[in-house]
């Protein structure tokens, strides 16, 4: 099990470093292909949205707490946008709803 974990970590560490390194090694100028440029532009939004929902509902024992955290997080992100503040807001909401649910 743990041998596999270390092997997996090695594979993923090398992969993620390659992603970060390749542009530094090969990029002489801006990317020309418009579709690829646009695709890269939209990737983070789609990826993170897919990873957030519905996974947030299953993060705690109770899906209702997940819903509350999602709504609070959305509101906080919409009005504040500060990474740390949004993160903490979600945590606090789960804590508070945990007291009553």
């Amino acid at each position: 099990m743990h041998k596999n974990v270390l092997f997996s970590l090695l594979v993923m560490t090398l992969t993620i470093y390659s992603i970060r390194l390749l542009p530094f090694l090969f990029l002489k100028g801006p990317i020309r292909n418009r579709w690829f440029r646009s695709f890269l532009h939209y990737v983070p939004y789609v990826t993170l949205a897919v990873m957030t929902f519905p996974a947030i509902l299953e993060a705690t024992g109770n899906p209702l707490q997940g819903v509350a955290a999602l709504i609070a997080g959305l509101l906080m992100a919409w009005f504040s946008g500060d990474l740390f503040a949004v993160s903490i807001t979600c945590c606090v909401v789960v804590f508070l709803t945990g007291l009553i649910l």
């Binding site: 970590l9 594979v11 993620i16 929902f53 992100a77 740390f84």
Partner: protein
């Protein structure tokens, strides 16, 4: 970097910015403090998740030190727990962290052509949303030691949070562990929602992505697809179609993508606020 190139760099820096390379490093460490605090809280939750699937403190430390990625490591934990194969691990890591590719592209535009190419290998390691945000927001050319300073402090917070999460996460009561388990998602929301507020198309994209993800996780046949591949498939399809429907315009491209500016603003703002207290 040669002394000559270094002098050249210093000439180009804005007034008020550090003049010496060592001072840039210290300046970076100071600006890294708010990032370190945010990283600590999030990586603590990461440590709890890692422990939950049976990873020990050493493995979790290596993961945080090697990957330095929130969504990426979160996906990594899921993949390890599922016993995913090498192809799935590489593909998922590529897709989930593709934004770093974009950020690296963007940061290359900030480098002094005279900078020693060796720095490129170090800077590549430093690419995260927040560190990139601070680095790309300096005026003129980027002094690599500035980025190294930010990274040193930030990665310290990232790794120590992870290890503590593994070690003492289990003595946390359920309510605290539950509360921290959503920290990661809060961070994701903080990355995708502010740009969605400014751009209705991105808001629509986020909505469609969440809906599709929900369908994929509940529909009879689709739900048998692992969550790693679900992310890959939906990202390629939805972002691919979005790129056809609304290609990025040349104005958007001024800084290799709008979101880069968003990160830069957010991070610089956060650093400014905290800097005031320090």
């Amino acid at each position: 970097m040669s002394a000559e190139a270094s002098l050249e760099l210093n000439k180009k820096e804005q007034p008020g910015a550090p003049k010496k390379r060592g001072a840039w490093f210290v300046h970076g460490m100071k600006n890294g403090i708010p990032i370190m605090m945010g990283y600590f809280a999030v990586s603590f939750a990461m440590g709890i998740a890692a422990r939950g699937i049976g990873m020990n403190a050493g493995e979790s430390f290596l993961m945080s030190l090697g990957m330095v990625a929130s969504a990426g490591q979160f996906a990594a934990i899921t993949l390890i727990s599922q016993g995913a194969g090498v192809i799935e691990m590489i593909t998922t890591t590529l897709i989930v962290n593709l934004r770093y590719f974009l950020m690296s592209c963007s940061l290359t535009q900030k480098l002094d052509p005279k900078m020693s190419p060796a720095y490129r290998f170090g800077l590549a390691y430093c690419i995260t949303d927040e560190i990139f945000g601070l680095s790309v927001s300096v005026k003129d050319f980027l002094e690599p030691l500035y980025t190294y300073g930010i990274t040193l402090v930030s990665v310290f917070g990232w790794c120590s949070g992870t290890v503590l999460g593994v070690l003492v996460g289990n003595i946390l009561p359920d309510w605290a562990a539950n509360a921290m388990s959503v920290a990661m998602y809060g961070m994701f929301l903080a990355i995708i929602i502010p740009p969605a507020r400014k751009d209705l198309f991105i808001a629509l994209l986020v909505g469609i992505s969440m809906l599709a993800s929900w369908i994929f996780s509940t529909a009879p046949v689709l739900s048998s697809i692992s969550s790693g591949f679900r992310v890959i498939i939906l990202t390629i399809v939805i972002a691919g179609i979005a790129a056809l429907v609304r290609p990025v315009t040349d104005e958007d491209d001024a800084a290799a993508g709008e979101q880069a500016d968003g990160y830069a603003e957010g991070a610089a703002e956060a650093a400014g606020k905290e800097g005031g207290h320090a």
